[in-house]
């Protein structure tokens, strides 16, 4: 990479990507509303929410929340930057895990039962999706022979053809990461659930804004991972992302929230079976 390219990649990673995801969340909320026969909020609503939160009076139940929210953001941002710099996929994955871990630790620092339960559920989510993400990355390695992103771009054929089942596995991880039904168990968009807002319960005002922004970066990362599956053409890539996201919204609106026991079982069993089949097929096929 030349330094100009690096500069561009940084700009894209730090500013464009989160802005795009902000708009995407806005569109998501709009489509969700339409599916529920409602009008829905303005497309820019996610930005208003963040802006509003930033302007609120800071209030904390424990200082470490502030500390951890920043490290959550740092982890998420770094992982996205690394992706745009085309670093090692497995490394990127581990770096994003830093963010998630700090989100959880922050929530654990408050002796509040809802926050604590949310944190534990978040941890259970982490153990549900992390192995799946690693396996997707391993799948990409087996298909391209390298963990580096540039190897994916060197492919002539979209990865999707080689890793169709792993794409579904990534879909499971995506649903968990997007906090969508049936996996919205540790913190849902709104709070009509038994643990209020779970891990987010104690983050408030500007700190919640930071957490939300960090979450945007996490979404960026996972969408980037998705985009690797169609690296050969922009049209196909946009279509793939669009369809996948639409299906996510559809699933969100047609299922109940499940329990973590169900999630752990389902994610592991289906995720690992699918991965295994796909990986074996790659290896021997």
């Amino acid at each position: 990479m030349t330094s100009a390219q690096v500069f561009l990649a940084l700009i894209a990673a730090l500013f464009l990507a989160p802005l795009a995801v902000g708009v995407l969340t806005g569109v998501d909320r709009r489509i969700t509303a339409r599916m529920q026969s409602r009008l829905g909020p303005p497309i820019l609503q996610p930005f208003y929410d963040i802006g509003k939160l930033l302007g609120k009076e800071p209030m904390l139940a424990n200082h470490w929340l502030a500390f951890c929210s920043f490290l959550y953001l740092a982890g998420a941002v770094t992982s996205v930057v690394l992706f745009f710099l085309q670093a090692d996929l497995l490394l990127i994955f581990f770096v994003q895990a830093v963010g998630s871990v700090f989100l959880v630790i922050g929530a654990l620092t408050v002796p509040s039962p809802y926050s604590q339960i949310g944190a534990h559920r978040e941890l259970l989510q982490i153990i549900a999706y992390e192995p799946l993400l690693i396996l997707v990355i391993v799948g990409i390695f087996l298909a391209t022979g390298s963990f580096k992103i540039e190897a994916v771009y060197a492919m002539e054929q979209p990865l999707l053809f080689k890793l169709p089942l792993l794409f579904l596995v990534l879909g499971i991880a995506l649903t968990i990461k997007l906090r969508k039904s049936p996996f919205d168990i540790s913190a849902s968009h709104h709070a009509h659930q038994e643990i209020v807002r779970g891990v987010y319960t104690e983050y408030s005002g500007p700190y919640l804004a930071i957490v939300e922004i960090a979450h945007w970066f996490e979404i960026v990362l996972i969408l980037c991972l998705l985009s690797l599956f169609w690296s050969t053409g922009v049209v196909g890539l946009v279509l793939l992302l669009g369809i996948t996201y639409f299906v996510e919204i559809l699933v969100d609106n047609t299922t109940s929230r499940m329990t973590w026991r169900w999630m752990l079982g389902t994610a592991w069993i289906t995720g690992i079976t699918f991965s295994l089949i796909n990986l074996l097929w790659l290896y021997y096929g």
């Binding site: 909020p41 609503q45 208003y48 929410d49 802006g51 509003k52 709104h190 807002r197």
Partner: protein, 145 residues
């Protein structure tokens, strides 16, 4: 800088998250408050989300008569809401105790415990009236800063 503060200003009016607390209401007002969130009225149009957590809320919707037990809860929730915040009392009960104001365990309206910014009369008020109440509270936000 100016643009930024302007954006924050707009955001404040565009994203009022509400906390609804049933402070001893007969449910009439509650179901109308909930109805406001549902497709026919859909207040998410204004960016309103029911957050159910005082720490995330900007607008506090209170329904019902205050009694000796729930007045403490009311105060607690209000105290956990960060500034800027607004309180909307809904229904005759929330305003004054309504038809129950002489009942033995009734303290009175919400404003006996916490300051109320907007009063929405009715028993129960129509969902449209509740929307009016929130809009009025937003005017307060606009004026406050």
């Amino acid at each position: 800088m100016n643009m930024l503060s302007k954006f924050l200003q707009t955001s404040r009016i565009k994203s009022p998250w509400v906390l609804h607390f049933d402070c001893g209401s007969c449910n009439g007002c509650d179901i109308e408050t909930l109805a406001v969130l549902t497709p026919v009225y859909d207040v998410e149009r204004f960016g309103i989300i029911n957050v159910g957590n005082p720490k995330h809320a900007d607008v506090f919707l209170v329904t019902g008569t205050v009694n000796h037990r729930n007045k403490k809860v009311l105060k607690n929730l209000y105290d956990q809401m960060p500034q800027p915040r607004a309180v909307i009392a809904i229904g005759a009960c929330g305003l004054s105790g309504g038809v129950f104001r002489d009942a033995p365990n009734v303290v009175g309206g919400v404003d006996k415990v916490i300051p109320v910014d907007v009063y929405v009369p009715g028993c129960p008020p129509k969902p449209e009236a509740i929307i009016d109440g929130v809009v009025k509270a937003l005017e307060l936000f606009a004026a406050k800063s």
